[in-house]
Each structure stands twice: as C-alpha cells, then as structure tokens.
C-alpha cells in the first residue's frame, strides 16, 4: 500500500499554500486510504486497488488549482473579517457611543463633527472591504443604514458650517427644550438639507441592493436616518421628562408634532423618494442553476 500522505503531498506540493497544506493533505490522503481499503475489501489485488484509487483524481493540477483558489479566498476572508470585527467595528461603536453622549450633553460640537466624520470614513472602509463577507442582514440593512445616517448627519454639519454661524442651534433643537423648539431656521438650510436627504436615501438603498438586500431591507436602509429620528423622539422626550423634569414637549403636543413632522416625517418622504429607483427587483424569478 502506498504512503498516501506522501503521494498527495508530492502531487499538491507545487500549488498548495503552506497555511493549509498539511490539513488538506491529511484529509485527501485519508479519503484515498478509505477508497483503497474498500477496493481491497471487495477482493481486488493490491496493484488493482491502487490503480482504482488513483482514478479518484484525473488531473492533480486542476484539483490543486481549485483547492488553492478556495482556500486562499477563505484565508483572505478570515484575515479581513478578523480586522473588521476586532478593530473597525469596535472603534466605530465606541466613537458612535461617545458622539451620542456628547450630543445629548450638548457639549464639544466641533469634536462631535470630527467623530461623525471618523465614523463615516471607517464605515466606508468596512462597506468597501466587507460587503460580500458579512451576513446578509448586516450588509444589506445595518451597514447601509448607518452609512446613510452618518451621511445625513454630515450633510447637516456641512450646511451648518457653510450657512449658520451659531453651531449650537441644531443640538438645542434636537433636545426639544423650552424656547429652542421654536427657534427659527433659515429656509435654505432646511430645503437644502431636505434635498440632500434624497441623495442619502438613494445611497442607502443602493448600498443595500449591492449587498443583496430585499426590497424591505432597501427601504429600511434608505429611510434609516428618519427611523432613528422617530426612535430618538420616542426616547428623548420621555427620558427628558423623567430625568430633567422637562415636560415642555409633552405639554405642547402641537409643537412636538411639528418637530416630528419637520425632522422625521418630511425627511422620511425625501429619503424614500431617493430610495425609490433602487427598490425595483433586478433578478428574474427563474430557477438558478
């Protein structure tokens, strides 16, 4: 009986990447060994059993190439995913949490801008390198959603820098404190931002579609900033009433409704408008081979 491990190693040697070579050699050799044992148990003489076993592989070079392709792609996937999971995503999570704390405390507006920009840059890195490697929900909902949210926020900051010289108004508006909800905004600021939301919605739905998202996933990714705003309104107002004893929004429902309309409902429509062209299905319903 041949030494199957040596035989496999010898034939794969010029092609097989080192990292997986011994594992693959062991597995393939074990398979050949079982084929040989089966042939022998069926009564074949040694040389005939060896000959039959070797017919398992017509072309070792083709097999080696196939294995190298699969295994090296797997290696690169593991390396990149590891980097994303241990470096990029935790960094984004920490920065995002820190940014949210500053946002709620109304502190360090400049630092907040830097944080959101860093989050966006890191998210784009993740999307670019991991889109096809993360699970379907992450790549079609969460990542496009957060990219859209950050893009929408950045757009507001950019406009703020260009159009507004009082950088505090955005945050005080969001906090829905007495006196701030009614603070006026330049008309062009709001209209410009709203038009930008159309692009953000398109970006979210596009990224979701590229990540293999269903129509529902594309809708969620496109409208993500508005969904977050609805959620924030639902959280901030009761929390503010509970911890700050600020019942202004609750005792002025018409103003609260106006705030939600301006900062969540109308933007939601704009976002969905942008997402609409990417909601159409791109695949036919035929059975895939």
């Amino acid at each position: 009986m041949p030494d199957w491990k040596s035989l496999v190693r010898e034939r794969l040697e010029p092609h097989q990447p080192l990292a997986h070579r011994e594992e693959v050699v062991a597995e393939l050799a074990a398979h050949l060994e079982e084929c040989y044992a089966q042939a022998r148990s069926e009564g074949l003489p040694d040389h005939a059993a060896v000959e039959l076993t070797l017919k398992q592989v017509e072309d070792w070079q083709v097999l080696a190439t196939e294995i190298v392709r699969t295994k090296s792609e797997e290696d690169s996937m593991k390396t990149t995913s590891h980097r994303t999971k241990t470096v990029l995503l935790p960094t984004i999570a920490i920065l995002f949490a820190f940014g949210l704390v500053l946002l709620f405390l109304d502190r360090a507006a400049i630092l907040q801008r830097i944080i959101w920009m860093a989050c966006t840059a890191l998210l784009f890195c993740v999307v670019a390198s991991e889109a096809n490697r993360l699970n379907l929900r992450t790549r079609s909902v969460w990542l496009p959603g957060f990219v859209t949210l950050t893009a929408a926020s950045l757009l507001m900051f950019a406009e703020e820098i260009v159009l507004i010289h009082d950088p505090s108004f955005y945050f005080t508006d969001l906090s829905l404190r007495p006196g701030h909800l009614i603070s006026g905004l330049p008309r062009w600021f709001y209209i410009g931002w709203l038009m930008g939301q159309v692009l953000c919605g398109a970006l979210g739905a596009f990224l979701s579609r590229r990540g293999g998202g269903t129509r529902a996933a594309r809708l969620v990714a496109g409208a993500f900033p508005a969904l977050v705003m609805f959620l924030l309104c639902g959280l901030v107002i009761p929390l503010s009433a509970l911890f700050e004893h600020n019942t202004f929004a609750l005792s002025h429902p018409s103003r609260l409704a106006l705030g939600i309309l301006i900062w969540a409902a109308v933007p939601a429509v704009a976002l969905l408008l942008g997402a609409a062209p990417f909601l159409r299905s791109t695949t036919s319903g035929t059975a895939a081979l």
Partner: protein, 113 residues
C-alpha cells in the same frame, strides 16, 4: 448543452445532495461520497476531485463546517456538519431544483423520480 452549463448543473446538484445528507447527520468526505453513490444507486458519483473543491467552497460560504475528530475505527477524519446558514439554503435549493425539473418536464417530458 455547453460544458459550462453542465458544470453548473453538476455543481448545483452536488450542493443539494451534500446539504441534504448533512442535514441528517455529520459525515466525513469519504462517507459523503459513499452515501450519495449508494442512495442514488450510482446515478450521482463523487470522486475525490469533484467532492473536496465543492466541500471547501461550501465551507467558505459558511454552509458547512469541518472539524477533525476520530471515526469509529479511531482514525482522525474531518467531519462536516451543516451550519444554520447551510440549513437555510436547503429549502430554496430544493425549490429551485423542483422548478428546474418541472420546467424540463413541461418542455421535454422529463420528470424526476
């Protein structure tokens, strides 16, 4: 039929066969090939060269997971088992093949068993 289409059909049927088998129990490569040959009365045959690239590819996709452990004879074998993601693939794959055979049946009177 072109070689490319034949290859796709073979690959698709191979994936379905392996997923179906592993849905029942974890198996190592030789056992997968043996059981597929036995259960299909030799209609589907896997050689080493056709089986392992497919298995490694399915492992890369996260459908199956390989793990070394000793078999009944005490020899180390790499056992494959279905992952939750692989289990999710099974029903849609079956549906695709059902549609495929129905389409062929309509066209050429070819029906599956």
């Amino acid at each position: 039929m072109t070689k490319r289409i034949r290859s796709k059909i073979a690959r698709g049927s191979g994936e379905l066969a392996i997923l179906s088998l592993l849905a029942e129990q974890q198996l190592y490569g030789f056992e997968i090939a043996r059981q597929i040959g036995e259960r299909t009365a030799g209609a589907l045959k896997f050689t080493l060269a056709s089986l392992y690239p497919l298995l490694y590819d399915m492992e890369k996709k996260g459908w199956v997971e390989g793990r070394w452990q000793a078999n009944q004879a005490g020899r180390d074998r790499r056992y494959y088992r279905l992952t939750p993601s692989g289990r999710k693939q099974l029903a849609p794959l079956k549906e695709e093949w059902r549609n495929f055979f129905q389409a062929l049946n309509t066209l050429a009177g070819v029906s599956h068993a």
